[in-house]
């Protein structure tokens, strides 16, 4: 199971702070495309981390079942 965590405005869209998906042989780029379609995230800007490390979104890295992916948008309030 790949765990996905959502923050800020992204979590408002997904209506959950995290979820687990069982996909095999899925790249980061494919996962992000699926999520953007599922939750209509195209208007939002966010960075992506795998296992607490920010990575390039256009990555063909094949996600491992122990990986934790995080979608992290910038905040603006102050």
């Amino acid at each position: 199971m790949i765990e996905i965590k959502y923050f800020g405005a992204v979590a408002e869209k997904t209506k959950c702070a995290f979820e687990k998906i069982s996909s095999s042989e899925i790249s980061l780029q494919e996962l992000l495309q699926n999520l953007e379609e599922k939750y209509q995230l195209e208007a939002l800007s966010f960075s992506v981390a795998i296992n607490q490390k920010i990575v390039k979104k256009a990555s063909d890295y094949i996600l491992q079942t122990t990986d934790v992916v995080a979608l992290l948008p910038p905040f603006a309030g102050g």
Binding site: A9, S47, A49, K53, P73, P74, A76, G77, G78
Partner: protein, 358 residues
């Protein structure tokens, strides 16, 4: 005053000592934004004895600010945040120097301002200005202590620390939107916690103790008390040069024309011109020109119908800062001939007394 007594409880910490206290008193920190984050950062830096603190903000206090901007009094609604923040923190610690900058931060003033400080604290509430602060920090080689809020979550990081990763390395997409506190809602405690974490990063950098949040972003959720750190690398594709900075931010704007008091002396009884006082009604000294009118800056935008767009208008405030903002505002509203009086009411009063005109 014995500084050992004032700062005793932190000086006795082995990580600080008298040497650390000296570092604090020699340091200069600029806090941009005197809103919710600034209201948490400012008193803690001042109380700890940071020797020189700049406060930059061009807003006035609104009643809806007070639930989170806890350094302001109810009686200060309508007054400038920088002035009230200065009053509050100088009462807390009179031994430090406090500079107020009531101009809006822009490409024109950011570099010269940042050069006067060691550390820049981003306590602002919109994304556009964060890119400006980031880029100006790169040009001037200053660390940027970033903090921001989305509802019950907050982010903290230190960018450009010792040439480390920047805001652009973390969030490269500049054309992004995120809701401000006004739009998204916010509770005072979340800005308080994040502001306090920013103050903590400032103190650690000055003392050179602990680990600075460089190349890391801390995300704090106050609803479940989860804290997470994410690492990120420097992306050298975002190096900013001074030329690139100037091209990006120094778009020619309406130039504010200033005149000296001496230059307008002959106009004092000229009924063709108007003297516009943009101070609040309770500010002293009172200056009553025959051909004068008073409209506080905060009301000016809604009361421009009281003015004639084709008339020559000389604008003054207390010191000459708000009057420049008033000129900009009126130029945008198609006024033809508006000028700011250099030195403001204080300079006017002085000259009038010398010439014994009133």
């Amino acid at each position: 005053m014995n500084i050992f007594e004032r700062y005793n409880r932190q000086i006795i910490l082995p990580e600080i000592g008298e040497a650390g206290q000296q570092k604090l008193s020699k340091s200069k920190v600029l806090v941009i934004g005197a809103g919710g984050l600034g209201a948490a950062v400012l008193p803690y830096l001042a109380a700890a004895g940071v020797g020189e603190i700049g406060i930059a903000d061009d807003d006035v206090i609104e009643i809806s600010n007070l639930h989170r901007q806890v350094i302001y009094k109810n009686s200060a609604v309508g007054k400038y945040k920088v002035e009230e923040a200065k009053l509050m923190i100088s009462a807390l610690n009179p031994s430090i120097q406090i500079n107020v900058i009531s101009e809006k931060l822009s490409g024109k003033n950011a570099i010269s301002l940042f050069e006067k400080y060691d550390i820049i604290v981003d306590a602002t509430d919109n994304i556009e200005i964060k890119y400006l602060i980031n880029d100006a920090c790169i040009i001037t080689s200053k660390p940027m202590v970033y903090g921001s809020i989305f509802r019950f979550q907050g982010q903290v990081s230190v960018f450009n620390y010792q040439n480390g990763p920047t805001y652009r390395c973390l969030f490269p997409d500049e054309n992004t939107q995120s809701l401000s506190c006004e739009d998204a809602g916010v509770i005072g405690i979340s800005v308080g916690i994040i502001g306090m974490l920013q103050a903590n990063e400032v103190i650690k950098m000055i003392l050179e103790k602990g680990e600075v949040l460089s190349g890391k972003i801390l995300v704090y959720n106050i609803l479940n008390n989860e804290q997470q750190k994410f690492d990120f690398d420097k992306n050298s594709g975002f190096l900013v040069s001074l030329n690139a900075f100037n091209t990006k931010y120094n778009i020619a704007e309406n130039q504010v024309e200033e005149v000296s008091v001496e230059e307008i002396l002959n106009e004092i009884n000229n009924e063709e011109v108007l003297f516009l006082d943009v101070r609040n009604h309770d500010e002293l000294p009172k200056i009553n020109f025959k051909n004068g009118i008073q409209i506080p800056l905060m009301n000016l935008e809604n009361e421009t119908q009281k003015l004639n767009q084709d008339q020559t208008i000389y604008i003054f405030c207390q010191s000459g800062i708000r009057s420049k903002m008033a000129v900009e505002l009126l130029l945008k509203k198609n006024f033809k001939n508006v000028k700011s009086i250099y030195g403001g009411a204080l300079a006017v009063k002085k000259l009038l007394q010398e010439k014994i005109i009133i």
